[in-house]
Amino acid sequence: MNWPKLFILILAFYLLLAIQTTLLFYFPLILISVLLINFFEKPQDFTGVLAALFGGFFLDIFSSGIIGIQALSFAALALFIKVILRRYVRGPVYPV
């Protein structure tokens, strides 16, 4: 596990959540960030899945539902994107 990378990731999502909940009320900044990370990183990288987990968890804290629902859904979405990219997409953007 790359701890400095993990720390930066948590810090980045902390700031993204602060921005989403104060400046951009209805813009899904965290979801879009999670999607972008997962689309543009190498399919074998695990950072996107962790980003999805943290992003979802932070959103769970700031919603009234069950804690973990969004973390779980975001992580599943990240894994799904990675499987799709790895199976069906071949191109210079996603070198294997």
Partner: protein, 261 residues
């Protein structure tokens, strides 16, 4: 199905999810803890937000601002005239109260709080909680007596306020100066609409909607919004209306909690 990640990575992910789910056993404490971690940064951003949104508003909507400014100037003149006649009525009211020994009109007992952030599901977070004597279902208003919503969850140092625009929100209202009663329903994304208004009543664009004490949720006379468009369809048993709420989240910095009413 083929796994694309090592077993250890999948194991870490599963343990993390289990840990996160187990936090539901202490959801109140967990949320309170994270709110206190996030609140300093969120408070700074929230306070800065007004300036930033004003800047973008100015850049992108110059023409509409000009028109709005003109309309506001006209409305201001109208309000000044109304204010003058109202002050006369107030003076008369005060004299009559003294003569009848009724005493001054009752005001609410209020608590003060600052807004920390917007939460999901049409709610905001304020920086006062059980430690400050707040409890669930207390109405929240602005300094101008604009209805914000009611407290739906209280933590130690924070409270969650469900906005009137929340989809599950509905409460009794009346039209100022007319004997028209109705129900305001939330629509999400800061939108509300008026429902259950009898068809024989005359609703007009520009009518002021204020809260009514009938449902017992909010005290009467709090400002809710202004009618934008009346919808009178033959398929409906009641009249409906689009209401433009007075509550502007971007302008909201501080709120008052009605402790008793």
């Amino acid at each position: 199905m083929k796994f694309y990640f090592s077993k250890s990575k999948i194991l870490v992910l599963l343990i993390a999810i289990l840990l996160i789910l187990s936090l539901n056993l202490f959801s109140k404490e967990t949320r309170s803890f994270f709110y206190s971690i996030f609140s300093p940064v969120q408070k700074t951003f929230w306070d800065a937000g007004d300036g930033i949104s004003d800047f973008f508003c100015g850049v992108f909507s110059r023409e509409s601002l000009k028109k709005e400014n003109e309309e506001l100037r006209l409305e201001n003149q109208k309000l000044l005239a109304e204010k003058a006649s109202l002050s006369k009525v107030m003076e008369e009211n005060e004299t009559l109260r003294r003569a009848l020994e009724i005493g001054p009109a009752e005001e609410f007992q209020l608590g003060f709080a600052s807004v920390v952030s917007k939460l999901a599901d049409e709610a905001i977070l304020i920086d006062k909680g059980t430690e400050d004597g707040l409890s669930e279902n207390m109405p929240v208003i602005t300094a101008e007596k604009v209805l914000v919503g009611k407290i739906d969850k209280v933590y130690g140092e924070f409270s969650r306020v469900a906005l009137i625009s929340r989809k599950e929100s509905s409460f009794d209202v009346e039209i100022l100066g007319k004997s028209i009663k109705g129900l305001i329903r939330g629509r999400g994304r800061s939108e509300i609409f008026l429902d259950l208004v009898s068809k024989d009543k005359e609703l007009k664009k520009g009518d002021l909607v204020i809260s009514s004490s009938m449902g017992g949720i909010y005290p009467e006379g709090l400002l809710v919004g202004i009618i934008k468009e009346v919808i009178n369809s033959d398929a409906q048993f009641f009249q409906q209306a689009e209401v433009s709420p007075f509550l502007d989240l971007r302008e909201l910095k501080n709120v008052f909690i009605i402790l008793n009413f």
